[in-house]
Symmetry: D2
Subunit: 351 residues, 4 copies
Amino acid sequence: MGTLRFSDDDTDLDLLYADLAEQDLQPLWRLQGLLTRQPRVRAVPYRWPGKQLRALGERSGRLVGIDRGGDRRVLACCNPGLDGAPYAVPTLWAAVQYLGPGELAPAHRHTPAALRFILEGSGVWTLVDGDPLAMAAGDLILTPSWTFHEHHNAGNTPMLWMDVLDLPVVAALDAVFFEEGPSEEVERRTDPVSRSEQWYGSGAGLLPRSAQRSAPRHSPLLAYRWADTDRALDRQLEATGERTVTIVYSDPTRGTDVMPTMRCEMTRVRPGGSTPAVRQTGSRVLCVFRGSGTAHIGGQSWPLEPGDILAVPSWAAWHLEADEQLDVFSTSDAPVLEALGLWREEPADVR
Amino acid sequence: MGTLRFSDDDTDLDLLYADLAEQDLQPLWRLQGLLTRQPRVRAVPYRWPGKQLRALGERSGRLVGIDRGGDRRVLACCNPGLDGAPYAVPTLWAAVQYLGPGELAPAHRHTPAALRFILEGSGVWTLVDGDPLAMAAGDLILTPSWTFHEHHNAGNTPMLWMDVLDLPVVAALDAVFFEEGPSEEVERRTDPVSRSEQWYGSGAGLLPRSAQRSAPRHSPLLAYRWADTDRALDRQLEATGERTVTIVYSDPTRGTDVMPTMRCEMTRVRPGGSTPAVRQTGSRVLCVFRGSGTAHIGGQSWPLEPGDILAVPSWAAWHLEADEQLDVFSTSDAPVLEALGLWREEPADVR
Amino acid sequence: MGTLRFSDDDTDLDLLYADLAEQDLQPLWRLQGLLTRQPRVRAVPYRWPGKQLRALGERSGRLVGIDRGGDRRVLACCNPGLDGAPYAVPTLWAAVQYLGPGELAPAHRHTPAALRFILEGSGVWTLVDGDPLAMAAGDLILTPSWTFHEHHNAGNTPMLWMDVLDLPVVAALDAVFFEEGPSEEVERRTDPVSRSEQWYGSGAGLLPRSAQRSAPRHSPLLAYRWADTDRALDRQLEATGERTVTIVYSDPTRGTDVMPTMRCEMTRVRPGGSTPAVRQTGSRVLCVFRGSGTAHIGGQSWPLEPGDILAVPSWAAWHLEADEQLDVFSTSDAPVLEALGLWREEPADVR
Amino acid sequence: MGTLRFSDDDTDLDLLYADLAEQDLQPLWRLQGLLTRQPRVRAVPYRWPGKQLRALGERSGRLVGIDRGGDRRVLACCNPGLDGAPYAVPTLWAAVQYLGPGELAPAHRHTPAALRFILEGSGVWTLVDGDPLAMAAGDLILTPSWTFHEHHNAGNTPMLWMDVLDLPVVAALDAVFFEEGPSEEVERRTDPVSRSEQWYGSGAGLLPRSAQRSAPRHSPLLAYRWADTDRALDRQLEATGERTVTIVYSDPTRGTDVMPTMRCEMTRVRPGGSTPAVRQTGSRVLCVFRGSGTAHIGGQSWPLEPGDILAVPSWAAWHLEADEQLDVFSTSDAPVLEALGLWREEPADVR
């Protein structure tokens, strides 16, 4: 932005600027790019191929163990636009986690909230505040803010899943707290149905008389099973007669997002179908669960395979096309944008 | 309540009372029983035996038809304390409805909201705003305020269910509206799954992207199936380790009651178990679905059999005991009491 | 409604009806007027003239005292359509209360909520849970559900105000509780500003850091002063450029109605102006504070003078016309209708 | 964090790390400081002295004009811990703005929300979506997200105020939009009372019948006048009997914060009094309006004078002590922390 100078004498201005700097002040008229017509997004559209993520996860599993210090064998997706920050998009950490047979990732808790979307396999249990949640392909598992969580692989095969955390948001707000759990008293129970599901997971709209609607601002249902999601997608597709449908994973006691910082969705696209092209404020991470097709994000295109993780930056036009029936899991910061009155969405012209 | 008279001359007072009456005024000090230490309840605890309800329903079916005028073959429970008003409790209409094979109860709508709890059989379809809802034993079917609804029996056997309406509440507020549906265009579709269930019934917390959370103040899920309820009851019992548990049927998009005037619950009591004895403001209608035991209400006791309907007046202590495993459906006006800040509940000493 | 009889034999039907009656059941097809196309309203439009109310209040003051039994010197408006029930409309008690110099109406509390709108004079204090609220012409004073309240006249002149209670609603829900306060420890403090106003009444949007937004479902501000109301009416009229405007008295911590059962409004109509003619579900009591004009309610008309109380039954078309500038206070059950999804409003054609 | 290596051969690990880098992945076990026991805060406690801000504002006014490019004569406070970013704390822009007699800062709008707290003088009008708001010492003026706003100085003296914006939050969410207003049609009206105040500012709890409670997530009251704030502070102090009290500026239609991203408060401390020492998550900017005393923030102390701006970083213990009666305006990101479930507060031991 320009300035209209009242003085011809540069000396006065130079002195002013020097004095301002000394007082830790900056004049607005010398700052650039603060208020832009549209979001000035540094993150770029990107894809991390599922094959590479799996192969590198396995290699890490052979070379690196899990100890009290490291806690997790995790490979974080780093958006090339973010100058080396370990974030897939500016507001979300996305990563693959690999856990070998018999391995255990010990208990800890932190204010950043996390979710796990399971790409393949089964046999791992995540314990959330002591409640054992079996993990299997297609399941969504929540470990909300400040809940203790640990993972242990009770099976005979390694397992791979995607972690998403709101870590960049919590860090930007200077609100990260972390605490290790008691390392000795590791829980190894593997109840067939978690308490969370016993209380809240039996069917739509069937709540216990004293439902936990109060303090913790997250869903009391911590596991969303693939069989239910799969059936819901098929039924909703049937109800619409459309070729694509999207489910929002929700808190059954409130109908709100599962956690206050992250919206979780599953989109199914029938072969030959396509999602509507849109641009939205806020950032999004996609993860292909099943099927094949093409992702179009911000003018770039990628073929899709199971396990692919993709970054959709803010205000980039995006849509998905299916060759085979395509199931894509998505996490976005939409609840944050909505809570702060900053959500915008518009159709995008992509021809 | 008494009065302190300043005047010894009754004439003055008599003249005053006469003038007040002429002006359509009443002096508070001559009114009695307006403000009582505890609710002065006219409704009495009561039981309508299921056997009688079924037998009388069948007799009505043989003797009386359904036409455009009568609309419904319904027997209303009349609480003996309510001076002949056709209400089971002061705020709820409860009745049994009987529909023979091939019979049709034509479409209409009204501001009083209704629900159907199916006692036995199957084969009847209720259409709510054109959405066909199959009815079978143990299901809860909603026909919310001002939705068109009709029933038709597509099966070979008669069917019996309980209707509950908030009619007395709506009437007391002078807000009853009624409209007949188009009698010719009767819908006979019997889709295997209603649209309501396709959209909202596939699993806890799996909502369509554009969930209907807005104007209509009722659950968009209109049918709660017994298989789901049964499983939820068992799981919640297991989670508690108690001998009784209660589920609240809820709006999956909000976690609130299914309709703004009526709370619907299902209570399961294991053999030998008992619900806690409580007294609550507001009125309640119980309906035994399965099992046997004893109901204790306001100092009276009744043995319980399937199909029994019972009235629990406001502030009467009540609890249920199970011989065989007991499943009891319950409708109360609790959402009204809560919305108006009048809900009270306390443990009752019943020894 | 009619019936289609399958049987030619009246004997069978008669027997059925006898057996139904014995079992406390009534057949729907023999009931009339349950579901009407529009509300079947028994209450009638009505006016109690202010002059009469004042004169009869004074006569009562001369003839009848206030003692522990009677508690209040109150004349209740009895709508002629309600068969002698002491209610102005089916959901609201409306009355004038008269308190002479030095008199005291002792403390009690009840679940029915009350409000006082002061017609003339000053000098009386209402204590709500011990907080002394001065009363003067044009003020609205709340005594919410289950708050202790007492009135004492510390002045030299008698005082007259209107009481409105939600008593019929609470009674219909069988939720009336009543308790006397401690008769000895009468509070005679007359602080210039109540605690309620100190905390919540200094200006729009200026809340204490720990505002009471929680349990009690009523406004923490218990007194709305005429000076503020008067100024707000004038300013809003100026902002609109219209000839009439209506203010809703609101809970400053929530923006909701002051109490969950009653909406309080003040309408100002400029000379020659008129309120829009509407019909609404639910009942309303009007009270003329200042000015003159005409009330049109359900096809009837009354000239208006200060102190007049009027009944507006459900779904009756109504509007007000001003000769002199007209200020009319109004209480309705609209929050109940809205909470239960039964609110309807439409313009009425009154020519 | 450490790693447990399964392999003795560094070559394998080096190869893995190279391959990860090539795939834009980073192993968690080589990242440091992501999850810290307490917030790792880069911003430092700081004070910008009011005298300097005023002097430098005046010097800027002599040397630099306002044109269509620059738009505003603003000096931004730059927290020394934030590597040159022009933010007072990580989530808030704070600055002084200086406007000379007859000057005009033209209309524009942006998604970042702004507020103005007026330090001294009068004569400037801010127009918000065309509604002219007079500005005077002690007033709080809102220019919510995406509202057009312009400032013009109709008086004879320059004027200085503090701007606070949520710009860093909106930028971190990639949701900054900006638009210039029509430069020709500058509004020069200076109505004595803004429409916003006519509708919403006349008194606590006096709302227009159709209050704007819907879409825009900000207070419809855009100006909070010092006279009201001053009276509220005194009354609340009297009600408590304490030596300090804090008012939260609130949306009168909802009781919530004035804007979804910023909480505005005014704290008064009586001479010799002190605010409680606390630590809180999230960041805060203080601005001394009147009085003198000492600020203690994160172990540092500063004497306080009118016009001082101070930075309170997340989780730093802070409190204020008054010599003369002290009035301190405060803006924090607390609504963001609360909306996302990240708010924590605890008493701090400061001895």
